[in-house]
Subunit: 202 residues, 2 copies
């Protein structure tokens, strides 16, 4: 890694950690520079604004997810419904590890940023929305396959996928408010009971 | 209303609107004082700190909810499952009205604050947690009654109530990220498909 890209990476990872542990508004450029041990001039060379930095943080995290636990959870070699179990487990262990380390459950960076800035920044909102749309498409493919394989009754895969993503984010929100990752383990399996369309339930 | 309580109310409602439309960190005491047209000294007379103000905002909103749409939705005279429909409808129309007025869907103030400050303020986190616990107990009572009346099969009411609250918050989160209250209308009815415990599904 050359020194320039090393500096950029250091800023990026410092910002990502600080935004995740606290919030976007609560962390200033000065603090990021101090923590990353870079000069302000150097910061602005890589990121013309805090918003540009946030865009890069979202991309960086989405990239890590896509190649990390999303790739593992939604592995096509796993039976479809096991992918959902894997994803809940991964969310739980991720939050638990963070809490064990820091004493606080940080929640989902995307969900945190979405609630904090959606009313204030159209560009960041659209970017977060695209991350959620991609996550939702993973659920949708999983549901499509589960129906094809006769594992679940036909339902509206696109809508149910959205419902599952909403539930995942909501569970993490409640767990963060209780500062207790066990909430994810307790509520998680119910993600498979959600359904929109198809034969009526209840 | 006497002038003192009028000043306090003005600060409180201004802060509530600004926190809800933007975020806790993004709104400073000076801006609140300017918008509410009160002096800083007067502010500190009523609220020793921004945190004290946030506590009062949470109480104020929780109180309004308890006597407003929560009381209406969870009215014991309504059939239990209709209460859930009512609550989803109320969430939808509330967010739609806010968006029609401001152009942006503000989401749930409690959910917004929970994700923004839970890692940073134990006192506010505990307060928000208490609000969610109360909301969850409304779902739980509803489920208890629905089972008693033979409307749904037995399930773990306490856990399913938490799941429903998580789903509600998660739906609002996704809707806010899309800036589209219709998400609540589309995904809302599926809240009744969530179940934890009881006879196995899927």
């Amino acid at each position: 890694m050359n020194p320039a890209s090393d500096t950029r990476e250091r800023i990026l990872h410092t910002a990502r950690e600080l935004f995740h542990a606290r919030s976007y508004a609560d962390v200033g450029i000065k603090e990021i520079c101090d923590s990353a041990q870079v000069q302000k001039g150097s910061f602005y060379h890589f990121f013309p604004s805090k918003r540009e930095l946030a865009m890069a943080v979202i991309d960086d995290m989405a990239e890590d997810w896509a190649h990390g636990f999303i790739a593992e959870a939604f592995d096509r070699d796993l039976p479809p419904l096991e992918r959902l179990d894997y994803m809940i487990d991964a969310a739980y262990y991720w939050q638990k590890a963070a809490k064990d380390l820091e004493g606080r459950m940080p929640g989902c960076l995307f969900g945190n940023l979405a609630l904090e800035i959606s009313t204030r920044d159209e560009v960041l909102r659209a970017k977060l929305n695209a991350v959620f749309a991609k996550a939702s498409s993973q659920f949708e493919e999983t549901l499509d396959e589960a129906i094809e394989q006769g594992l679940i009754a036909p339902l509206d895969c696109a809508a149910t996928a959205q419902a599952m993503l909403a539930y995942l984010e909501g569970m993490i929100l409640l767990a963060k408010t209780r500062n207790d990752p066990e909430v994810i383990r307790e509520l998680g399996p119910a993600i498979k009971t959600l359904r929109i369309g198809g034969a009526a339930e209840n």
